[in-house]
Symmetry: C2
Subunit: 312 residues, 2 copies
Amino acid sequence: MKKAVFGVDVGGTSVKLGYFTIEGVLLDKWEIPTRTENGGVNVLPDIAASVKAKMEEKGLSADDVEGVGLGVPGPVKDDGTVIKCVNLGWGVFNAADELSSLLGVKVKVGNDANIAALGEMWMGGGKGHSSIVTITLGTGVGGGIILNGKMLSGVNGAGGEIGHMTLDTEETAVCNCGKCGCLEQYASATGIVRLAKKALDGSDQASSLRNVENLTAKDVFDAAKQGDELAGEQVEELGKKLGLACANIACVVDPELFVIGGGVSRAGQIILDVTEKYFRKYAFHACRETGFALAVLGNDAGIYGGARSVLG
Amino acid sequence: MKKAVFGVDVGGTSVKLGYFTIEGVLLDKWEIPTRTENGGVNVLPDIAASVKAKMEEKGLSADDVEGVGLGVPGPVKDDGTVIKCVNLGWGVFNAADELSSLLGVKVKVGNDANIAALGEMWMGGGKGHSSIVTITLGTGVGGGIILNGKMLSGVNGAGGEIGHMTLDTEETAVCNCGKCGCLEQYASATGIVRLAKKALDGSDQASSLRNVENLTAKDVFDAAKQGDELAGEQVEELGKKLGLACANIACVVDPELFVIGGGVSRAGQIILDVTEKYFRKYAFHACRETGFALAVLGNDAGIYGGARSVLG
């Protein structure tokens, strides 16, 4: 009788691990450093050793463990083949097979954004749904798509790479990806600050943001909530771009729910309100009532999703 | 031993039917009228009678038949429940169950655009692939998405409704759907003519199109192929919008191949060339090499896809 499942979120600096019941209760979580030297050869053995130590600590045999699910920062094929994880030093190999042979239990591997989306579906903002799109607004903009409970990886591992949807073909500023006009340029924390500075520099309009040193996205939202007009315009612009992107996603995959997460989403309801407002304007009528929710698992989404991915 | 499968494409005027081997060889095809009166109560019984007559003609028993697959003009849930087919007079009911009980064989039902996409994947422009997006450029613009061999229907049946992706938030002309700036307004036959007329009316630029009565999309492509500058600009504009839409689809579902069909696609290679040109510009680098092909099954895509849908 299987009773435990492990979820692992592999980052470039540290690996987060979680020990769950198969019903999704997080019983323990911990971190280990990511040793990326030598092409990252130690990453999977370190994870195996850490999981084995935890199994021993908890008195679990391999028979008690349903498996281990891993999210990694790069494209992954459905069979667990990692295409390339620059941040880990990894090339192309089957990470699921390798970790499985080290541990003697079933292993699933997926892209970290898709795995996090699965976590939010299971026990987070998307709980109770089976087809959701998550949008993570952080330093960049990431996305994950779950349809009927399955991750949409895409042929090149680019499924859900919605941060690089082109929204403005007239844009001249260049995105980190090399293109111009990507969602990430407007809806990431970096993008929000960039646009606010541009607005401040481009006019004499009074704004409390003029007194802020080291302007952050949080400052923009805080000022908007307090009625600052220039900051409010920036929030509208964010909503316009994010609502447009969601409308365009909806006419492709038509999910039940959008789940907005990442550091920027800590601004709360104001993000949902302004995004929904423009989504309703730009969305095809059949999917105009699609729901919006905030992500709730934060940095734990990856370990939840890893665990969920093993449960099939 | 199953040896036959039927594919059925239900239109508002006529129903197309095809009798196939399970390997996908079309052995016979025919049409019957669609009787839409009385809420379309006769449509399924007429199809059942026609399939039964063909089975008798060919000496097939129910044991010889793998099943019947149906494409209908409206949203359909995965279990065969039709949400509404205005053109057939249908409300909400399970069309798969009803036709199955009339025929005594397995029945699958899907949206006609998605079913046609499945046909193109099986024996058409997408043969040999399992994840494709079809875009049908006709009076309107339709789409169908197949991922790992399965149709993407969407929660509201709006999966692949890419004709209503918003590409220009500044557009003031209104789409049939009530929004402004939809792909359909630029890439449908109607849209191409609308934009060409606008360009002709808006300038004194010399163009062979000025001598054409009842301008069609074909006239625009023919003139562009013969070097007409204004017509060439219209084709570029089409490529820009279609390439942008494909790039935005690619960062959501990341398919292997785009298959372009519908009446407008009869212009041939020029459509692929101009669409790919802008796709490569707007697409995220990981999916920039996604392929493009022309649809090849024409009006038979629906019966091929219907047959394929039964084969699972």
